[in-house]
């Protein structure tokens, strides 16, 4: 599988190219130095489901903290302090809350690493000449092609969207 890339000078030019090429039925991905909200609409990207992972982990963290507090203060190590109840929900609130927050944050962070395919040392894109501008001032579009013989058509369609340059990258690692 080859990946054809095209660079555009502005976000608007990229969004325009995405609209044109999507109508022609290509599988697309874009690379930008900052998030471009119109791009998600143009790519018809689904909403991120990351929040579910964070929510579930947060609930788990809070529940585990509450259960853990009950376990250590009412069951494993009960101390009678002036007759105060061993299982005392009000006193368990702060730690339950904090651990819920902590688990949510760790969950959201871990989820973004997985979903955004981070923690990689190398990607074929890094070998593409000029691709460094994707984190600078350039806006890149990627077309994923299946067959080598249709490459020529894609190149022609890409060239029609008036990019700064067209480049080619190897398949995903």
């Amino acid at each position: 599988m080859t990946r054809l890339l095209a660079e555009y000078p502005t976000a608007d030019a990229l969004v325009g190219a995405v609209r044109v090429l999507r109508d022609q039925g290509y599988r697309l991905e874009a690379y930008t130095p900052y998030p471009v909200p119109e791009l998600d609409r143009a790519l018809a990207a689904p909403r991120s489901r990351l929040s579910y992972a964070a929510f579930l982990l947060g609930i788990f963290g809070a529940a585990a903290a509450y259960g853990g507090q009950w376990l250590i203060s009412a069951y494993l190590y009960p101390i009678d302090v002036g007759g105060r109840p061993l299982h005392f929900p009000l006193a368990f609130v702060p730690i339950t809350f904090e651990m819920g927050i902590l688990a949510t944050a760790l969950g959201a962070f871990a989820a973004v690493l997985v979903l955004a395919r981070l923690v990689v040392l190398w990607d074929p894109l890094f070998e593409v000449d000029g691709f460094a501008s994707a984190t600078g001032t350039g806006f890149w579009l990627e077309v994923r092609a299946g067959e080598p013989d249709v490459d020529a058509d894609i190149r022609a369609d890409l060239a029609a969207t008036d990019p700064v340059r067209i480049a080619e990258a190897g398949g995903p690692p």
Partner: protein
């Protein structure tokens, strides 16, 4: 937006994305200059003093501090509360102002988040040292020991441990997540191979794909959303260390909101103390504009008034309660007892200083802001001294009264944490872009877009 706000931009001039990026990255490539080196040398010397004094304290025992009975908390806890409070402005700027879509936060959020992290590091030192035997600090965390002993979670101190740990971790994740796209920019534009490798490793292989940005934005929003209640909870929990005690001057329901307001107040003061010299030294006055400083001053005025309200309510309740010890504490002990000058300094710094900011001219005067920000931080330190030392030295029984004086070790450790904080901060200024580059590019694009829309046919 009001007409004045439109006339007073959050980004001066119309730099191209390339110019903006070059300007913001230049702080990491360039030399620090003489001022930076002198500051770094002083901060380094004070850091050595800090670690020397910590070694001395740990090796000799907590008796080298001025703490006594009844004033058992003293400097250790004053400094802890002060530093943790300073951290709050960073989270306030990065989380609450993000959710409120306040665009002026963009140029100072990275900066303020770093301040938070480094302030929490200083704060964390104090409870550990105050334990007396810091090598047993892990006893604070629940772990299955052969002794079968567990932390007492019905006490406020384990709440504190949970809150501070969570606060530090979430602040670190939030800060690092915000940094990842900029680390990729550094990786792709670094002049030397060593830097490319360093930043490349830290950037985790960020490519900036639309998919990655979508998940990234979702994660950033979630972190902002949970950091908002977190920042309110942390100082509330710190305040319960006091509020659930029976000591006169502590046992008060106003404490959680009062502490949170005070924390954000001192934090914004510290933001100004740091940002004013930095924007001058690194020539970033077009990015961190007078408007940013003015808005910080407005927040100082608001939170300063909240703090003043807290003082008023404390006094009213002390009088209204009819409790003899409370009344003595507030109407004799604090204003006229030992260390009363700290009380008067607190009132002058915390209540009078922010009143300057009713004037627009003074809010925009950089020198006035800088001096005021330092006075406010002195005032907030004094407030914690008043709450802790003055309350403890005048408890219920006159036979138990005793004064307090810090030792040279106490003072050196306080100065040392200021040095260590500055050392971390100065290192950060040179190693990482302290204005968020990707976010500034996004802001610039938004502003350019709006500008074009204004000029075009309506």
């Amino acid at each position: 937006m009001t007409p004045t706000a439109a006339a007073d931009p959050i980004l001066v001039g119309a730099p191209t994305p390339g110019e903006l990026q070059d300007q913001l990255l230049a702080t990491t490539w360039g030399q620090g200059g003489r001022g930076w080196r002198i500051a770094f040398a002083i901060a380094g010397a004070l850091t050595l003093l800090l670690f020397g004094c910590i070694a001395y304290t740990v090796a000799t025992g907590i008796g080298v501090w001025g703490n006594n009975v009844p004033v058992a908390w003293a400097f250790g806890i004053i400094n802890f509360v002060w530093w943790i409070g300073i951290g709050h402005a960073g989270t306030f700027i990065s989380a609450i102002l993000y959710l409120l879509e306040q665009r002026w936060r963009t140029s100072i959020n990275r900066f303020a988040e770093a301040m938070t992290l480094f302030a929490v590091i200083q704060a964390g030192l104090f409870p550990l040292l105050h334990l007396g035997r810091p090598w047993f600090a892990y006893w604070l965390f629940p772990y299955p020991s052969v002794m079968g002993v567990w932390p007492q979670v019905r006490s406020a101190l384990p709440w504190d441990a949970a809150a501070i740990t969570t606060y530090f971790t979430v602040s670190l994740l939030f800060w690092f997540l915000g940094l990842v796209p900029d680390l990729a920019t550094l990786r792709d534009h670094a002049p030397t191979r060593r830097r490319r490798i360093l930043y490349g490793l830290l950037a985790l292989g960020w490519r900036g794909s639309a998919t990655a940005w979508r998940h990234y934005r979702a994660a950033y929003l979630i972190l902002a959303g949970i950091a908002t209640p977190l920042v309110v909870s942390v100082h509330s929990i710190v305040s319960s260390d006091f509020a659930i005690g029976l000591t006169p001057g502590w046992h008060s329901t106003i404490f959680p909101p009062f502490f949170v307001a005070g924390a954000i107040y001192s934090g914004f003061a510290m933001v100004l103390t740091l940002v004013i010299p930095t924007r001058a030294a690194f020539r970033l006055k077009n990015v961190i504009t007078v408007r940013h400083l003015e808005l910080c001053a407005c927040l100082l005025l608001v939170t300063g008034l909240l703090v003043a309200y807290g003082y008023t309510v404390e006094y009213f309740i002390a009088w209204y309660s009819g409790d003899e010890a409370e009344r003595y504490q507030f109407f004799h002990g604090r204003p006229f007892g030992p260390g009363s000058f700290v009380f008067w300094a607190m009132l002058a710094c915390n209540i009078l200083t922010p009143q300057l900011f009713w004037s627009r001219r003074l809010r925009r005067n950089v020198r006035v802001l800088f001096v005021a920000s330092i006075l406010i931080n002195v005032g907030m330190w004094a407030e914690r001294f008043v709450i802790i030392v003055q309350s403890l030295q005048r408890e219920y029984l006159p036979s138990g009264w005793r004064g307090y004086a810090p030792t040279w070790v106490d003072l050196s450790i306080l100065a040392g944490t200021l040095g260590f904080f500055s050392l971390l901060f100065l290192t950060f200024l040179r190693l990482l872009p302290f204005v968020a580059v990707a976010e500034m590019k996004e802001l610039r694009a938004e502003l350019a877009h709006e500008d074009a829309a204004h000029r075009g046919p309506a």
